[in-house]
Symmetry: C2
Subunit: 89 residues, 2 copies
DNA sequence: CACATATATAAGTATATGCTTATATAATAA
DNA sequence: TTATTATATAAGCATATACTTATATATGTG
């Protein structure tokens, strides 16, 4: 893992809202609308944050009708895994 | 470890220059002037970055004459330790 | 003392970040 | 088709970040 990619992944998680999203996703696949209900920011803001996590390879999504279900990627780098482990369930 | 402190530590390491500084410090205590020689930013910039790492509890320093020797704190949180482990020596 | 060296702090600035509101897109239902 | 719901994208803006240069501080030397 080169240092540039490490930086990208770390930037993706160094934000309270994105850490909270990851914390929510620990309990399993969740659609955007449910995530919006949990954290106190707008729906577009949640979409934007999820996109950052997705671009860093930390979460992935599948579409189900109009819903989109996000989940944490199973195989993570040791660093990201350590972070996920620290988050409350 | 609460999520706010986790965020603070992650923000402190989510930058290529600070990761490079940590990478240098893996080989042991180093003074600011030697770190300046290694990474391509000015001396004040290095001091500012080291301050961020220090405020996050990741590095510490001791003064020796006019020099200041920075080093990585021994006991780290699992997350920060995982990051340090990933860095080249 | 004056001067040199190492480091820190201050001030300014360009870019990045993370929200907001408005709007676009996609799928579904009536 | 029109309307509704879920999500994404665009644009704008306020704040944060990370440099730079200039200057302050601290220590050591002649």
């Amino acid at each position: 893992m080169d240092i540039q990619f490490l930086e990208k992944q770390l930037k993706a998680v160094s934000d309270v809202n994105r850490l909270t999203l990851l914390s929510c996703l620990k309990s399993g696949e969740t659609c955007v609308c449910d995530l919006v209900d949990v954290i106190g920011i707008s729906q577009p803001a949640v979409s934007q944050q999820l996109k950052k996590l997705e671009e860093a390879g930390i979460v992935t999504a599948r579409k189900v009708g109009t819903w989109k279900h996000y989940r944490i990627v199973e195989q993570q780098s040791p660093v990201i895994q350590a972070i996920i482990d620290q988050l409350p369930n």
